[in-house]
């Protein structure tokens, strides 16, 4: 009877489970323009909101005159802080334990800050009304430099006057936010004092912005009859938003439904709460009609969450042979006007304490000082886990600087200091337990693939040719070995606003053998609907094509903390596997009943349970699903459903080895990427094609940040790069070719061994591109030059080194 039964391999292939380069199920709608984003949502009677924003970076708001705007036909309301204060909504809590003005309450602290919210019948009237609102400002002294801010008499946050204790300990100055210390300072200093070699270097990781293609926005709809609020928005964490909205508005949580529809990229920008969300909710309550707010590109770049802006000074000690003995890192972090960093509560500088990198460093110390300035708030993790890009940039530059000091090859220096395979799980000096890794294998594979020795030889010849005047192009070899820390995180030490950072999955198997699974995460382009179905397909033996994945609607999805910090696969992916295993456990009992054997006498085989030793006797999962709905099985409830809330025991630690070969025209400052080789180890690989896409995307954002992308301010606090003319968003034309490779070192504590991959290429890519620029000039004495390495800065580096005549 089983002649028609396909072979095992064929049955496994039909599932399109783990390891299958399954095409993304999302792409049919995205490539045909059928996505449904926030701005696509149109509700009957919907109104439109727009902001009056401050042209000044620091000013007192003397008065706001709404009369002319209110007189414009089609304008329904103009909200100011005065209007929101009776509701207690003129300020809102930030994720970092600070508070932030929703609308300017007496003063503004950064250019573009929200001063008034106009509500009108259409988007055009709203924009016209914004022009008619007269705001009288009194300019105040502007602080854009955090070091100056810490010395200045100018008080930025008058609301905190006299508060010497902040959310993260003592405040040393009225513009100081916190000091966060990790590691052993005394022991580190002692090692430094007695070290054979010590090198110090300072570097600035410039302010930039995640700049998702879709800007932020929301549509709020308050149903006055039922008392229910529906809030659609660009939320990377819809459940957390629901809880926050409930806490600050007083609306009971069951009366709030938050929906994240399709999201056009997040990269950390859409984790936090923005004034526009709050104002759209209040405006809907006030007018009784749905209210849409969608920011434009300039508003997104100038006012929503920035990334980086870390001034880092490092000290690294080693033996003469290059064995690192200690690391010291001091950071001054520019947080802007409010501390709105999106980090787990106990980590005000995120996971900056991963800054010992891939290296076995016995002792280390880290101190981060957060500072208020007249810049936009934020400090989100742009395509990285919390502050991991900063940490990896820091250590990968310090390694290069140490190599210069020791006159060693930087690849050899790394090799000497890598944590060895047998040292895992590895306890780092700054408090983390690295789960697994095989750094030497990855490194050696890459060195061989790129013919590293050959590259160094070519580079040396190029330098000689340059000195002889035969070429004006230098060659740089950028190296990076990074270790990420993702998958936040264990509830015991990771929470956001008191909400533990577990995640969840709920599965329902339908009678005919298809399924729906809902998760607490939300895809912004990562392809969750594709990959989570693959995890489940392998776990429960139903084809991925028969499994619908749904996220983003808090009325239906189980509670979860959302998608950022590469946490979806490590946390929600684990919940998916665990929920699948609950399904399978029940299916086993059903199969045993149907096959009239004991539960322990059947075993799972790809898509079925078979009687042990008698594989011709089996029940497929499809048959079992139907049976669960039509058989009265003693001791079992009908149906086949499961829920899992997964609290990860540890973070996961993806890693990778990258090499960039770059040619630099010293006269024009133009860099050409000749080659970029990226080996990633993200543990178990779910969908190699999606991984490849993630790596291309992350490397491209790394390319952008390293070579041009920044948010810079002038002395008056004006944003200098507020449009895509000046904010570098590379196109296909500028982007180099990437070669990808991988090793697989599964996470020992994750149910399927997966570690997460979306952010690795960004984390490793930025220092790799930057190191290539530095390396090109190393023979001429360059130690450190700050990013972004755009044409004029590269030219200036060459110029300062005397390479122009």
């Amino acid at each position: 009877m089983n002649d028609m039964t396909p072979e095992r391999d064929e049955r496994a292939a039909n599932l399109k489970g783990l390891g299958c380069s399954r095409k993304r199920v999302e792409d049919a709608r995205f490539t045909q323009g059928k996505g449904n984003y926030v701005d696509d949502i149109k509700l009957p009677g919907m109104l439109h909101g727009d902001f009056v924003r401050s042209p000044y970076a620091h000013a007192r708001v003397i008065s706001v005159n709404k009369d002319a705007a209110m007189a414009l036909p089609g304008v329904l309301a103009v909200l100011t802080a005065e209007d929101l204060s009776p509701l207690g909504l003129h300020w809102m809590p930030t994720l970092a334990g600070d508070k932030q003005m929703v609308l300017a309450d007496g003063k503004v602290l950064f250019q573009g800050q929200e001063v008034a919210f106009v509500v009108a019948e259409d988007r055009y009237i709203a924009a016209d009304a914004v022009e008619l609102i007269e705001v009288e400002y009194e300019e105040l002294p502007v602080l854009t430099d955090p070091f100056e801010a810490l010395k200045s008499d100018v008080v930025l946050r008058e609301d905190l006057a006299g508060q010497t204790e902040g959310a993260h300990g003592p405040r040393k100055h009225h513009n100081h936010i916190f000091t966060w210390e990790q590691g052993d300072e005394a022991a580190t200093n002692q090692v430094m004092d007695n070290a054979e070699v010590v090198v110090t270097e300072s570097m600035y990781y410039h302010r930039t912005h995640p700049c998702p293609l879709e800007t932020c926005g929301s549509v709020a709809s308050m149903d006055a009859v039922n008392g229910k609020l529906t809030l659609y928005g660009t939320f990377q964490a819809p459940h957390a938003i629901r809880t926050v909205v409930s806490l600050i508005s007083g609306i009971e949580e069951h009366n709030i439904r938050v929906v994240s529809p399709d999201i056009g990229g997040g990269f950390g920008n859409k984790v936090g709460a923005y004034a526009g969300y709050v104002c759209s909710v209040v405006a809907s309550i006030v007018t009784g009609r749905p209210v849409k707010w969608v920011e434009d590109r300039m508003e997104n770049l100038m006012t929503t969450a920035f990334a980086r802006d870390y001034w880092m000074t490092g000290k690294i000690s080693a033996t003469k042979e290059g064995k690192i003995t200690g690391l010291h890192c001091q950071v001054t972090a520019d947080h802007g006007g409010f501390d709105a960093c999106a980090d787990p509560t106990k980590f005000p500088a995120g996971f900056m304490n991963i800054c010992t990198g891939s290296y076995d460093i016995p002792v280390a110390y880290l101190a981060v000082d957060g500072v208020y300035t007249n810049k936009a708030p934020g400090g989100v993790s742009y395509r990285c886990s919390f502050r991991v890009t900063e940490a990896v940039y820091f250590i990968e530059r310090m390694i290069e600087v140490l190599a210069i000091e020791l006159d060693m090859d930087a690849a050899d220096l790394r090799r000497i200091n890598f944590i060895k395979k047998e040292q895992f799980p590895y306890q780092s000096a700054l408090g983390w337990e690295y789960d697994s890794g095989d750094y030497h294998r990855a490194w050696d594979k890459v060195m061989e693939a790129v013919d590293y020795e050959g590259l160094r030889k070519e580079q040396a010849e190029r330098v000689e040719a340059f000195k002889r005047g035969e070429t004006r192009t230098l060659m740089g070899i950028g190296l990076c070995h990074f270790t990420e820390i993702v998958g936040a995180g264990p509830v015991k030490n990771c929470d956001i606003l008191g909400l533990g950072m577990f995640d969840s999955c709920e599965i329902r198997i339908h009678p005919t053998g298809s399924a729906i699974a809902r998760l607490g995460t939300i895809s912004q382009g990562q392809g969750h609907a594709t990959t989570f179905a693959q995890i489940l397909a392998t776990e429960i033996g139903l084809p991925a094509d028969s499994i619908t994945i749904e996220e983003g609607d808090t009325d239906t999805a189980p509670y979860g903390l959302g998608t950022y910090g590469s946490r979806s696969t490590p946390v929600a992916g684990a919940a998916t596997a665990m929920a699948g295993r609950k399904i399978r456990a029940k299916a086993q009992m059903i199969a045993a009943y149907l096959l009239e054997v004991h539960d322990n006498d059947v075993e799972f085989d790809v898509d079925r349970f078979v009687v042990k030793g008698a594989p011709e006797r089996f029940k497929t999962m499809k048959e079992i699903a139907f049976a669960s709905y039509n058989q009265a099985i003693p001791g079992l409830e009908p149906g086949l459903e499961a829920v899992s809330y997964y609290d990860p025991p540890n973070m996961t630690y993806p890693f990778g080895a990258y090499v960039c070969v770059m040619d630099i025209d010293v006269d024009t400052g133009v860099p050409e990427i000749r080659r970029f080789y990226a080996l990633d180890d993200c543990g178990t690989r779910i969908n190699p094609m999606i991984i490849e896409g993630q790596i291309h995307g992350g490397l491209t954002e790394a390319f952008a940040v390293a070579l041009g992308q920044e948010i810079a301010y002038d002395k008056q606090g004006n944003v200098k790069n507020g449009t895509l003319m000046d904010f570098f968003l590379p196109t296909a034309w500028e982007v180099p070719n990437y070669e990808t490779d991988h090793t697989v070192t599964p996470s020992p504590h994750h149910p399927i061994g997966a570690k997460g991959v979306g952010e690795s290429p960004h984390v490793g890519g930025v220092p790799c591109f930057s190191n290539a620029v530095h390396d090109a000039f190393r023979p001429f004495g360059l130690k450190q030059t700050n990013m972004p390495h755009d044409h004029w800065r590269i030219w200036e580096t060459a110029n300062k080194l005397g390479l122009h005549d």
Binding site: D50, R123, Y124, A126, A127, D128, E131, D296, R297, M298, D667, T668, G669, V670, G708, A712, K720, N721, M725, D726, F728, P730, T731, W733, E734, D790, H791, W792, W795, E796, N799, H804
Partner: protein
């Protein structure tokens, strides 16, 4: 990025355009491809109560090449310039420059007339038109008149064109010799950090004549007569090129912006000009 309200006019005859301009004065502007004007309106940096779209106006298109004279209608797009075989052989510098303007989507809409008329120092065509000594034809209430591209630009966005005049065509003698349009930009779609247009005639192993214009290195395009003079009669050796660069540097006046400080721009201008001259010489 929401423009203020405006009335949209779409006339079919040039006379009607002039009439609208006379009627509305400062409140009216003509629009060709719109790729400079529309963003300015969306940023509310340009308030234009009456927008006059030239798309349907007859007689403003077409490329003609007759007895060594080339005429481009104001509404000829960059895309048409790139794909016109006759033009590519008669004046290849136009194609080389147009390919370095913006991106294909913009080039489908962006026009030569708009690019030249607007007076944006970042635009590539004004400098190029000065290099090849083009004549700009304007029509107004008093009829048509012609002005040399080298006399047209007064300051950023300020030109010789009166408010009630419309640029209708551009004409020039088919350039001879070697050419080069060299441009450095930060990314696709960007204006030049520095750009140079060079048209060079070689005779008997020496530079017989050469015309040089620079873009985005001053608030107007810079036709550097002195830079050209430094090359005439030379073999385009490195000393001659150096002299031309020195002369050019005396004519430009770049300002600092996100593309870099003045020192960088001046140095880069010299490099770009050297490369353009070398390429034009090799092709001559």
């Amino acid at each position: 990025m929401i423009p203020a309200a405006f009335d949209y006019h779409r006339p079919t005859k040039v006379e009607d355009v002039i009439a609208l301009l006379e009627e509305h004065g400062d409140d009216a502007r003509v629009m060709a491809g719109g790729h400079s004007l529309i963003p300015m309106m969306k940023l509310r940096m340009a308030d234009i109560p009456h927008l006059i779209d030239l798309q349907d106006v007859g007689g403003l298109g077409g490329i003609s090449i007759e007895s060594g004279r080339i005429k481009l209608g104001a509404m000829v797009t960059q895309h048409e310039i790139i794909n016109h075989d006759g033009l590519a052989s008669a004046a290849p510098i136009l194609r080389e420059a147009a390919l370095q303007i913006a991106d294909p989507q913009v080039r489908y809409m962006g026009t030569i007339g708009g690019n030249v008329a607007n007076g944006d120092p970042g635009n590539d065509m004004p400098g190029l038109m000065q290099c090849i000594d083009a004549q700009i034809e304007l029509i107004g209430p008093g009829g048509t008149r012609s002005v040399a591209a080298r006399d047209y630009y007064e300051a950023a966005y300020m030109t010789d064109r009166e408010d009630d005049e419309v640029l209708i065509s551009i004409s020039f003698a088919a350039p001879s010799g070697g050419h080069a349009y060299e441009k450095q930009k930060r990314k696709i779609g960007d204006y030049a950090t520095a750009a140079a247009a060079v048209q060079l005639v070689k005779d008997d192993g020496k530079v017989a004549s050469v015309s040089i214009a620079m873009t985005n290195l001053s608030d107007v395009p810079v036709w550097s007569e002195a830079a050209g003079a430094a090359l005439v009669g030379t073999t385009c050796d490195s000393a001659a090129i150096k002299a031309a660069v020195s002369a050019m540097l005396a004519d430009i006046d770049p300002s600092e912006d996100n593309r870099g400080p003045v020192a960088f721009k001046r140095h880069l201008a010299g490099i770009i000009l050297s490369r353009a001259v070398t390429r034009a010489w090799d092709r001559a």
